[in-house]
């Protein structure tokens, strides 16, 4: 087998990798996160999509200059080995917390809806076994799983039609009924759901067609945005402002509106199928964390994966107070956003470096 082949991600792999690492827990509560804007929130996903696409430009530009490097090795290259390692350690720790926050959020939901009066430990263990199995296959296996989980879950969008029938389209008006502060809060909360495309910084070296990577990643982003957009529009139609604020997981309520003759309720099915989305995006994150660990230790060892997985597992199992958790996960956002903006600084460093090189030459 071709052990040394680095380039392995085809265009459709890139599209779905970008698309599926974005959709995870964020979509479940998106309309609620945006609720500070009331009815006017429905077009926010479009704006967030544009922001995402804009921030993608520097990322791709930078990595096209360094086609063999991922974020971690590039950090070491551009800001020095020592500082780079410190930064990478920080990133890996952050990724561990971030994955833990997704997993914990989802399993709490499972506990409430699908498996009441059960502890979280059992579902967590099987989740991790499957997760490790995915990540073991490498980035291509993750990408293929992303494609499958997209097609296994996208049909659930059909169930939105019940809510559309009951909703009131007049809620979409007026378009701009919000204050600037409300707008900021909504876009900050909403951006949490959009994050995930920045992982391309790590798997960029594996993309076959790096020249067109921007186009493919953008397609991925906009598939997600279309999904988000339709969910927010339907939610705005179906709920009142009060409900948007109070209902934490509007998607579940949308599922509950569905009436089928052969199944009374499909929200349990929906939330269970959601695990595919959670698996695909956490797998991508876990793989990135493993890459970070590889870069830190300057070698490739499978056990890095286990070390990270155990860290996440332990962190999820530690009983922390809800307030602390919320505050903690809330602040992860700023790190998240700075990671997305980080390539701009790297570009700056890159330019200085290349200038110096020219000067010395």
């Amino acid at each position: 087998m071709d052990n040394n082949k680095l380039k392995k991600l085809k265009p459709y792999h890139v599209i779905f990798l970008v698309q599926n690492s974005m959709v995870a827990l964020g979509l479940l509560s998106l309309p609620n996160e945006l609720s500070s804007m009331g009815y006017s929130q429905w077009w926010i996903p479009l704006m967030l999509g544009i922001i995402a696409n804009l921030t993608l430009i520097p990322i791709i530009w930078l990595f096209q200059r360094y086609p063999q490097d991922n974020l971690f090795t590039l950090n070491e290259k551009l800001i020095g080995k020592f500082l780079g390692k410190i930064l990478n350690t920080f990133l890996v720790v952050y990724l561990i917390f971030f994955i833990a926050s997704i997993v914990e959020g989802y399993l709490d939901l499972i506990k409430i809806i699908a498996l009441p009066d059960r502890t979280i430990a059992g579902p967590l263990v099987v989740f991790f076994i499957v997760l490790l199995y995915i990540v073991h296959g490498g980035i291509k296996s993750i990408a293929r799983f992303c494609i499958l989980s997209f097609f296994l879950t996208i049909w659930m969008a059909y169930f939105l039609q019940w809510s559309i029938l009951e909703g009131d389209i007049r809620h979409l008006m007026p378009v701009s009924n919000f204050t600037f502060h409300e707008f900021l809060v909504a876009s900050r909360n909403g951006y949490f759901a959009i994050c995930g495309y920045e992982l391309i910084m790590t798997y960029f070296p594996y993309i076959i067609n790096q020249k067109k990577a921007f186009k493919h990643a953008s397609i991925g982003i906009w598939i997600t945005i279309t999904l988000y957009f339709s969910v927010t529009v339907v939610s705005v139609m179906y709920f009142t402002e009060w409900q948007l604020e109070e209902v934490i997981y509007p998607i579940l309520k949308l599922y509950k509106a569905v009436e089928l003759s052969y199944a009374e309720r499909i929200d349990v099915l929906g939330i269970s199928l959601w695990v595919l989305l959670i698996l695909s995006s956490t797998a991508a994150y876990l793989w990135v964390a493993k890459k970070g660990m590889d870069a830190l230790r300057s070698n490739n060892k499978t056990y890095h994966l286990y070390v990270i997985a155990i860290c996440i597992f332990v962190f999820v199992m530690i009983p922390l107070s809800k307030d602390f958790q919320e505050a903690f996960y809330d602040n992860l956002f700023y790190i998240k956003f700075s990671i997305i903006l980080w390539p701009n600084i790297l570009i700056f460093l890159h330019l200085i470096k290349s200038k110096r090189k020219q000067a010395s030459a």
Partner: protein, 499 residues
Amino acid sequence: MGLIKILGKILEKKVPVQNVKTQPVKKINKSNQISIGAIKQALDGVEDVQYKPVRTSEGLVTLIYYASFVDPVVLHERVVKPILQRQETVIHASEKMEDHELNRVINLITTGHTIIYLHKPALFYAIETFSAKNRPIQRTETESSVIGPQDSFTESLNMNLSLIKRRITNAELKNKDYIIGAETNTKISVLYLEHLVNKDDLACVKKKIEEIDYAGFLDIAVLKQLMEDHPISPFPQYNMTVRPDMAMHYLLDGRIVVLMDNSQSVVICPTTFFELFVPTEDYYNRWTTVTLLRALRFFGFFVTIILTPTYISALTYHPELLPFELLLNLQESRDRVPFPPVIEVLFIELIIEILREAGSRMPTKIGSTIGIVGGIVIGTAAVEAGLISNILVVLVAVSALLSFLPSNFLMSNTSRFIRYAFILSAGTFGMYGQVIALAWLFIHLLNLTSLGKPYLAPVIPRKWTDLLDSIIRFPMRFLRYKKGISALKNKRVSPLDEE
């Protein structure tokens, strides 16, 4: 993780075939010098070996052969009669043995040759006289079809080869023979179309065959398991068939077909998950019919592994899923059942397995009786006795029937095994467990390879034209492209080794 590693190590130690080194065939005679005495010594204790003296006009001749392999009429026609008339004719038609070729002589005798020993001038000749009776070509019972050719492979390698070669009369159809099996010396033949086959695949198959070191092959199914990329996976990774038209179909697509002597089936590699659901009859029927049937078979596979687990998770964890009237019915019939739903389902699934297993060993007449006893008596009586609920009987029966839909028998066995994993996960975590198990199944399928090619190929197509012959089978005129999996250009997946 520690436990996993230990278990994994135990497994890994047992698996690789290369480690099971059998002793090479013992040297019969160290000098390897040929002589009638040496032959007699080597074949000592073999009762059916014949030393037949024939007195000809030119001197004494001894014929050495296995009585069980050589038909007396054939021997007489081919050897004795000509030798009595004119010794030269036979000598010309046979091969002269060199002095030091004792092992070869023994080998030839054990494969049905007759050794002609001319006492003067003490020369050995070998002539092919294998004439043991073969089974005639018959219809297949396991892969029968209404339309299409009715012949099937037999246990004779030569006959099987002829069945394929008469269909593809083309010199590009090459076959490479091997003798494998340290004890059995089984002959196998690797068949392919030279200009269509992917050379790397071919090299891979040849390498795998050459590397195999195994004492004896009962059937080609043994060889197939030894050749597979992932020996522990429950899924068959190569296709197996007894139909010459199926072998031909895949040869024309550039696949490699492996035949084995004394084995009715042939192995087709590489193959994809989806192809295991496709009998050749699909190409004889109208495309509309086929599309319907394919959807039924393919989705039936997933329904059969999901149906009874859903019963468990709905009854144990999510009763609100069920429609109200059905729920009342279920409550009523479940009321007398003393077990939790998991045990109930396992119980009835096991009964089905027992019925199937009992029926499969019996002659047809007794087998059908067992079916009636099992189906009607146990089914209704178990419900009456309050051991299982009546709705479950329906579900289990449907899922048992669905499990026989894939055209490949190994695949239907696999679906039955996987169902148990799903039943257990549904019993443990309800719908969540089921989806987790489904995720596991899909990742496993995604990671599987057949000869280094992705196993789940048409679902995630290697080529867009693959979709023309997937669940929707387009009309015949569209099906003129090779499948992505047998593309000439080498594109292997290697999930584990990106770094």
